[in-house]
Symmetry: C2
Subunit: 355 residues, 2 copies
DNA sequence: ATGAAAGCGCTAACAG
DNA sequence: CTGTTAGCGCTTTCAT
């Protein structure tokens, strides 16, 4: 039973239905001006043969791919211990599915991978790209601009005017991004601690080569412009980094009575050190995180007060913006100019027991 | 500066290098029988024009796609609170990258999506598929077999002989899978508890429509063939499910002195209930999980003793098996017969404080 | 070793 | 409305 013959082609369907290839094509693609009896014959032939269009052939002529690349540029293991990107993916996937687009995942582990990604994007496999976790010195934006693929960034891109990809100036679309209100969320967190009567409020930052960390730090400074410099400790978004920073903090400022950690993972490290030193949370030291990453935030002891961002919605929105721009292609897909233009999603404070 | 012209084609490169398209093609694809001076001219032309092959055109003739679909069939939110699949993806991605293949992610949220996935797989977009999180009644295996795409399953497929996809009998390749030694890991966990002198050892199962849950239960039974039935409580791999099960357990068997939870998420729910009831871990009740999901397992109070499986390695291995089969396509890619054939990865007990 | 030519399967004018 | 006719950009015999 050598059923293993190659897939039926348009030609085969046309023959079976006794029509031309063009007619079959019309029916398969929505069947506009095709009279009903004919269309029906074609549909039956399609079913009987189990015909499925060959996407490569179709793309070759339409230049569309119904596929979007998702680029996650995280050299570190961190992302993978992090439900963050899973949630983004979920939001993206839902939206793409609604638009009949496929999700091509491009994970970059190191610098070597960047060239590969650039090549792929330039290869015209996809209709657009969604790019995450950019670091300040990341070569990716340049490669992407060069590839000439419509792109939406996740998180505010970090380049300053001078260091922006040069092609941008040449009239290319301005970078478009979706971000959370990191700064506002940080402000809310600090205000909450202040409202609790805390005086010595510290901040343990995230990796400052990412704008999310910078923005959260800025938010902290908005509320504590005159903070003792020793109350700001640089860290890296990881539990281990949080532990390290908290130890340093305790050594330098034993009177600290509140900590705003750059994310929940960091906060979990902070809590561990506090428990180890016999300090009570929140009585002795209040702790607040960022992300509302579940189940971690609920499972810590005590459960973590934190700033929630709607990660899945970010993903969904990114996809929607990309596809929206794609749909009206030919027109100006994005506002002109070189200044990043973006949508900023609100954050909300979630009160649990730690602050 | 209308640099926005369409990408250069082979033709353009050929013209620039003063050779034929065929020659350029040869150079681009490894440049076998092309004399060096010529090849060099071509390479320069490629660089100058920034030529990148159009994959659609290439696939159209080669019928290869250098792309693999990863299907994650998890209708529930659970996966996304779960670093599990992120780790799998990482392993897969690494391996695919090494083979110059792209990863196309297919997330199915509900039954409606299955048809879409089936269509995609049948559409010949990819060279193979990696499929996860199958449930016992999942229609996906059938669709996949019908699509005729080489496939490797993550986790032992759950169908029994009778309910196997019928096409399998027709001489198609047998299902191939990669799994962890769930049964062996469960046995090790229970033996550890026994070694601790525990007598009333309970098991809170995972969702029993997944083979991983069934296998862990079987492992438990191997060691406790005469267990009091009330010591086995069915659950669903979630923290909330773990809480529910633990409450039930405590109500029915107040003398329980050890719990083997089907995974770490479940164990975290168990710990929460225990803390709430004022029971000490491990003094009053020892708890052991499964997965070694970080950072959760380290962050619980007390840190969780658990059975580790190397999730990333599973992913890597799946990809390797698929691509290996692909490479020797034309031959028998998989052993004949309808019996699932698979590779089972070892698990190891990680001792922390909870047992 | 290189070039010429024939498609891969499909869509998109253009005729009729 | 439906069929005919060109290609899309590439690989691949087959000549040379």
């Amino acid at each position: 039973m050598t059923e293993a013959m190659s897939r039926p082609t348009l030609e085969a369907v046309a023959a079976r239905a006794g029509v031309s290839r063009a007619t079959v094509s019309r029916v398969v693609n929505g069947g506009d001006g095709v009279r009903e009896p004919l269309a029906e014959r074609v549909r039956r032939a399609v079913d009987e043969l189990g015909y499925v269009p060959n996407q490569a052939a179709r793309s070759l002529v339409t230049k569309r791919h119904d596929a979007v690349a998702v680029v996650i540029a995280e050299p570190e293991t961190r992302v993978f211990a992090d439900p963050f990107f899973a949630l983004q993916l979920r939001g993206i996937s839902k939206e793409l599915t609604a638009h009949d687009s496929q999700l091509v995942l491009l994970l970059t582990e190191g610098r070597d991978d960047h060239a590969r990604v650039g090549r792929y994007l330039a290869g015209g496999h996809v209709d657009g790209a969604l790019v995450f976790s950019l670091h300040l010195d990341d070569p990716l934006p340049v490669l992407i601009q060069r590839a000439g693929v419509p792109t939406v960034f996740g998180g505010r891109p970090g380049w300053s005017e001078g260091s922006a990809p040069s092609e941008t100036a040449a009239g290319a679309a301005a970078p478009v991004f979706v971000d959370s209100d990191n700064r506002g969320g940080a402000r809310a967190a600090v205000r909450h601690l202040v409202g609790l009567g805390r005086r010595r409020i510290a901040h343990i930052t995230g990796a400052l080569d990412q704008t999310s960390a910078v923005d959260r730090l800025d938010g902290f400074r908005d509320e504590r412009p005159d903070a003792d410099p020793r109350l700001i400790v640089e860290s890296d978004f990881t539990p281990a980094g949080g532990e390290r920073a908290m130890r340093e903090l305790l050594d330098n400022c034993p009177d600290v009575d509140a900590v705003f950690a750059a994310n929940d993972l960091t906060a979990s490290g902070v809590l561990r050190v506090l428990r180890e030193r016999g300090l009570r949370v929140p009585q002795d030291i209040a702790v607040i995180g960022f992300d509302d990453m579940l189940p971690l935030a609920e499972q810590t002891d005590p459960p973590l007060t934190t700033v929630r961002q709607d990660i899945e919605e970010m993903g969904r929105l990114m996809a929607r913006m990309l596809l929206g721009g794609l749909d009206r292609r030919g027109g100006d897909a994005a506002p002109g100019g070189g200044e990043p233009s973006g949508v900023v999603l609100p954050t909300t404070l979630v009160r649990r027991a730690s602050a």
